[in-house]
């Protein structure tokens, strides 16, 4: 299954969710589905070692070092994947919370806050900071909700506002736990072999996979937010997506895709035809009236008038508001 199919299936399930409402689905979800499928296609390219050089070197290093050490790279990759999945996705409800906490802290780091584990600061671009502000707003809605639901499910009474008051602390600990999964994988490698090169290439590969997964989730949230600029609504959809397993299905698909390059030489794959690169298309704002349209011959003056952008008008309340109409 390709990544865009994972998204497509998730949205197909959401369409039947009564709590979202059919009208909401028609208006919002269908447009999000198309956009996110396009995003998924774009991400797939990041999983192609021909395009993503960092991934290419990580896979090559892992293949070479494990083979040198007499370890079957595919088997080791499978074991590493299991450690990751058990720790991150082992507890269904909590896995969403792990992920949201990680996204939240990554957002805060981009906004200038230090990493809660290492204390290091990050330099972010203006665009990254803008995106991070949006993502932290969205997650600040969603994470307290998810946490309070979780605690209620285990019989602990805590209100959403109590969690909100300490959100950074909850998120920091869970972010630390999530980040720790790479070290767990590292310790597993060390238990098998003293080979430091294999340790480094294994953790590098899993970090690359982890980074791609997390960036994908961030990217999906940005995409959703750009389409639907209501944090509460994005939070609702994200919550639903988590419940129906979109996150771990996405990870599984990425894991499988990278796995197809493990244990084999890349040369053979490089001969495969290059997939067209739709990278920029997804980035483009929706152009309300593309250039070509204006090249079309106009039918008549009346038709022409209705096509032109109309001012959005603000008038005193006692006068009629005439947005998008003639003044």
């Amino acid at each position: 299954m390709a990544l865009d199919d994972v998204v497509k299936n998730a949205f197909a399930q959401l369409s039947t969710d009564a709590s979202l409402g059919q009208q909401v689905y028609n208006a919002v979800i269908s447009s999000l589905s198309d956009t996110l499928q396009a995003t998924a296609k774009q991400i797939e390219m990041q999983l192609d070692p021909k395009v993503n050089k960092s991934l290419k070197y990580a896979i090559e290093g892992f293949n070479i070092n494990s083979t040198k050490d007499g370890i079957d790279p595919s088997q080791l990759y499978g074991e590493m994947g299991n450690i990751y999945k058990q720790n991150i996705f082992g507890n269904g409800t909590f896995s969403n919370i792990y992920l949201l906490s990680t996204l939240y802290i990554r957002g805060l780091k981009k906004l200038g806050y230090p990493d809660p584990i290492t204390g290091r600061r990050e330099i972010a671009t203006r665009q990254e900071r803008e995106n991070a502000q949006n993502i932290t707003n969205i997650i600040a809605e969603l994470l307290p909700e998810s946490l309070s639901q979780y605690y209620q499910s285990i019989g602990k009474n805590v209100t959403k506002s109590e969690i909100m008051a300490n959100l950074d602390k909850y998120a920091s600990i869970l972010y630390g736990a999530y980040s720790g999964v790479t070290n767990l994988i590292g310790s597993y490698i060390i238990s098998k072999t003293p080979n430091i090169s294999l340790l480094e290439s294994s953790t590098r590969l899993m970090s690359t996979l982890n980074e791609t997964f997390i960036s994908t989730m961030e990217g999906s949230i940005y995409t959703m937010y750009s389409k639907l600029q209501i944090p509460e609504a994005v939070a609702l959809i994200l919550g639903k997506m988590g419940q129906i397993g979109l996150y771990n299905n996405t990870f599984d698909e990425m894991y499988r895709k990278i796995g197809s390059y493990i244990g084999q030489g890349l040369k053979q794959q490089q001969n495969q035809p290059v997939v067209p690169q739709p990278v920029q298309q997804v980035n483009q704002p929706n152009i309300q009236q593309p250039m070509q349209q204006a090249n079309q011959p106009r039918q008549n003056q009346q038709n022409q008038l209705v096509q032109f952008p109309q001012p959005h008008v603000i008038r005193p309340l006692n006068q009629p508001q005439q947005n998008q109409q003639s003044i």
């Binding site: 995003t39 774009q42 395009v51 050089k53 200038g112 230090p114 600061r121 990050e122 330099i123 972010a124 671009t125 203006r126 665009q127 990254e128 900071r129 995106n131 960036s215 961030e218 990217g219 940005y222 995409t223 600029q229 690169q277 990278v279 920029q280 298309q281 997804v282 980035n283 483009q284 704002p285 152009i287 309300q288 009236q289 593309p290 250039m291 070509q292 204006a294 090249n295 106009r298 022409q304 008038l305 032109f308 952008p309 109309q310 001012p311 959005h312 008008v313 603000i314 008038r315 005193p316 309340l317 006692n318 998008q324 003639s326 003044i327």
Partner: protein, 527 residues
């Protein structure tokens, strides 16, 4: 064969991208000229490389299929070129990696980089070695300084001081920064002494162990890193042998050059001041009839009643003076003027503080009207620039529209130029940076410049009275604007670029020839 590479910075929808699009048209024209003289000049290849953010805010590079783009240019389908450029040439470009861009640029005889900030906010150039590879003294360079950097850095500091994030900043530090801004607004530029004081403040905030400096670094460390990266790039430029530093105005040239000398203690060598190419000029040449249709439409829309229109075009940001324009509108409406404020701004959504404030004003005084065109409201005129040009022409014909530019920072003033060129609009502007220079060159009327908010209010009231007395035309110098129109025409500027590039390549060849001659004499002497 000579290779010319143009690195177009399309990372943000800002003045740098607009400039890059204008430059693309200039270089297409340049290629046409080179093709004409191919027999004498030999083969020349031009390549366009675009840097843009991807969906994850990471910088990616694209190589444009120049031959295809040139084919479109030859057919004079300028709209298609602008459309492609706005989409970062999607469809006629291929994505390339960091190594590719480094190799391609270092293998070119001439490199034009459209933004001196190409290495800043660019995760690809995290390693200084990569930046060094691009600025490696290999071949000739032309680098554009679109921004007045010291002015920008000062305004950033003012914004940080105004934000709620800094609790420990002393009154002394704040006053120092505010005084610098005040002096800049009074003079219209930052003098040398103030530049040094600005550098001292940045140095202090970067290195001191006082509580306020530590807090600043915790909060705005990213900004200090940004300044440091600029300084590094500037220093590299002073070391390059064959580089032309390009500036849109003398004020920006002077300000940046002094700043570079103050931070790096060495001078940038060659400076050229050249107006920025405006792609709308080319659109105006080729699509007059279509624009005329839009003009008629907007003329019909606005030619009712006898309201005075105040036009604001720009981002919804403090440094652009958005607060001043809203305050001005309120002051006018409060005093009984039934004015119409027309806003063209990409991010002016209904949920913004400014939108709500405007709503409050018209409801409070039961007077005035606001028209907004914005991407955030789905009715942007800039998405299809011919609409925008049509609107400007229509507002110009009404003789009752005042274009107001209350910006605190303006290196060149593209929007102002668009307003005066296409609308021949009466313009009230802050007497600062590039706008001050346009005034000194006679393109902007010296009687309609202001410095403080009080000046702005008084001037606007006076001008409204003058307009009501039929004196609109007295404030617009149409002849000067016609001259200006040629100076910002991308196709005219192609000749200027040709001269610069020709001289640079000649200098380079001469220097290579001299080196060879010295070497061969050395060999002869040894023999």
């Amino acid at each position: 064969m000579k290779k010319l590479a143009v690195l177009l910075d399309h990372r943000w929808d800002s003045g740098v991208k607009t400039f890059s699009i204008g430059v693309s048209l200039s270089f297409l024209k340049l290629y046409e000229l080179l093709e004409l003289f191919k027999n004498k000049l030999g083969d020349v290849e031009i390549d366009f490389y675009v840097m843009a953010y991807n969906h994850y805010s990471k910088v990616e590079y694209f190589k444009v299929d120049f031959n295809e783009l040139y084919g479109i240019y030859k057919n004079k389908d300028i709209k298609r070129i602008i459309e492609l450029a706005n989409k970062n040439y999607d469809g006629i470009s291929e994505r390339i990696g960091l190594d590719d861009i480094l190799n391609e640029l270092s293998g070119s005889d001439f490199k034009f980089i459209t933004s001196v900030g190409f290495g800043i906010y660019n995760d690809s150039f995290e390693k200084k070695e990569d930046l060094d590879k691009i600025l490696s003294n290999n071949g000739a360079y032309m680098i554009m300084f679109h921004t007045n950097y010291p002015g920008n850095f000062l305004y950033n500091l003012v914004e940080f001081m105004n934000s709620d994030g800094l609790k420990n900043t002393s009154k002394r530090t704040k006053n120092k920064i505010y005084s610098l801004l005040n002096r800049k607004l009074i003079r219209g530029y930052i003098d040398d002494r103030d530049q040094k004081e600005l550098i001292d403040i940045i140095e202090y905030l970067s290195k001191s162990n006082t509580e306020e400096a530590i807090e600043f670094r915790n909060k705005y460390g990213w900004w200090l890193d940004e300044v440091e990266k600029y300084t590094y790039t500037f220093r590299k430029l002073t070391e390059l042998k064959n580089v032309i530093n390009l500036f849109p105005t003398y004020i920006v040239s002077d300000s940046n050059s002094r700043f570079i000398k103050n931070v790096s203690r060495s001078n940038i060598k060659k400076r050229i001041v050249l107006h920025e190419p405006m792609y709308m000029i080319t659109l105006d040449k080729y699509y007059k009839n279509e624009i005329e249709e839009y003009k008629k439409y907007y003329l019909d829309l606005y030619n009712k009643g006898n309201k005075i229109n105040l036009l604001y075009v720009g981002r919804r940001s403090k440094e652009k003076g958005i607060d001043d324009i809203i305050r001005l509108f309120e002051d006018l409406v409060k005093e009984g003027e039934d004015a119409r404020l027309v806003i063209l701004s990409p991010d002016f959504g209904e949920d913004t503080e400014e939108y709500k404030k405007l709503e409050e004003i018209v409801n409070k005084y039961k007077r005035g009207e606001i028209h907004i065109y914005s991407k955030a409201l789905g009715n942007s005129l800039h998405e299809y620039p011919l609409y925008y040009m049509g609107l400007l022409k229509a507002l110009g014909e009404l003789n009752s529209t005042i274009y107001i530019n209350p910006t605190y920072l303006e290196s060149f003033g593209l929007s102002t130029l668009e307003a005066i060129i296409f609308g021949k609009l009466l313009t009230i502007y802050r007497d600062v940076d590039g706008l001050k220079e346009l005034k000194e060159e006679g393109y902007l009327n010296d009687q309609t410049a202001f410095r403080t908010y009080e000046d702005l209010v008084n001037l606007t009231k006076k001008i409204i009275e003058e307009i009501k007395n039929g004196k609109y035309g007295e404030y617009v110098n149409k002849k000067a604007i016609e001259i200006l129109e040629k100076e910002v025409d991308p196709e005219e500027l192609a000749y200027e670029y040709a001269k610069i590039i020709g001289e640079m390549i000649y200098d380079q060849l001469k220097s290579e020839y001299n080196n060879l001659e010295v070497q061969s004499k050395g060999i002869e002497a040894v023999a």
